[in-house]
Amino acid sequence: MNRGFILVEATISYVLLAVALLALLPVFILAIKTGKGSEQLQVATYLSQELLEEVRMRKWDQNTPTPPSRILNPSSTLGPDGAESASDKKSFNDIDDFNGWTERAVTDPLNNPVPAFAAYARTVSVSYVDSNMVVLSTPTTSDYKQVTVCTQTAKHPPLCLATLFTNH
């Protein structure tokens, strides 16, 4: 007598196969999410770098003369000074004016929005550091200002770039 599969056995095997394949769905979803995260990381890196270049254009301190040279009395307060507007970065004329700067959507150097990157937010923090890179608390000053620019989206942690600017 020949043995074969009954319908119930065959159906059960199909169902098991379908369940096994459905278990792969989260893997595909994770692959797409990871790819998206990787893309946003790369974009955020370039955006952080761009804002660092904007900061770098400014003079080192409010008291830095033109042409620039080393000063003995750097400003002890970090942030916009005098008539500078804390909400308009094109009014900033020195590096530490950017301390506390926040963009909820990316803007160009003249504070005009860049629509393609509306989902990215950027922040800047500036602090005096000593020669061991230890952050100094106000009102202590030094010849080194550390600038940290962070870019992030709503769903991913911030990507931060930091650099040092020296009193010259």
Binding site: T11, L24, I32, G35, Y46, F92, N93
Partner: protein, 166 residues
């Protein structure tokens, strides 16, 4: 096995086979999406940062002492030692680099390049450059266009300061 049982079995098998096929198709689409994304992003990175011995647009700006023209769709910079002009421009759907008359393909599938030039004025405030010689910061928005309507464009926005900054 009766005919009815066979028919029921075939329907169930058909439904389940359809589900399995959808899952496998999703796997193929995911792979294609990841491949396209990597490919597009590497093109935009190559345009800006270069690859190997080929210097990208940003690297060229950082090593340059001046901009030779304020073109919003291309970048032409002068490097310090030789005064040679290196330019980056879009032709067709590719980004080309030209230096001393030698043209090389920088990256393909680049659909647009939008460039702005800035410098600090006498008050120490940033503004758009009105003369090429005064430009000290270049920002560029590079777009890699999708190959068909179902795919997205990829963009990178970056900036580079020239060496002529005081």
């Amino acid at each position: 096995m009766t005919l009815v049982e066979l028919m029921v079995g075939m329907v169930v098998a058909g439904v389940i086979a359809g589900v399995c096929a959808k899952v496998l198709l999703l796997g193929i689409k995911t792979y294609n999406y990841a491949t396209r994304q990597n490919d597009s992003l590497s093109r935009t990175r190559k345009a800006l940062g270069g690859e190997g011995s080929s210097m990208g647009l940003l690297s060229a700006c950082r090593g340059a002492t001046a901009v030779s023209a304020l073109d919003p769709a291309s970048v032409a910079v002068v490097s310090g030692t030789s005064a040679a002009v290196t330019s980056y421009y879009i032709s067709g759907d590719s980004l080309y680099a030209s230096k001393s008359g030698v043209v090389s393909l920088q990256a393909d599938s680049i659909s647009s390049l939008a460039v702005n030039y800035y410098n600090m004025d006498d008050s120490g405030l940033i503004r758009l450059s009105s003369a090429a010689a005064s430009a000290t910061l270049v920002t560029a928005l590079v777009t890699v266009q999708s190959k068909n309507n179902t795919q997205k464009d990829y963009r990178l926005y970056a900036g580079a300061m020239l060496r002529n900054h005081p």
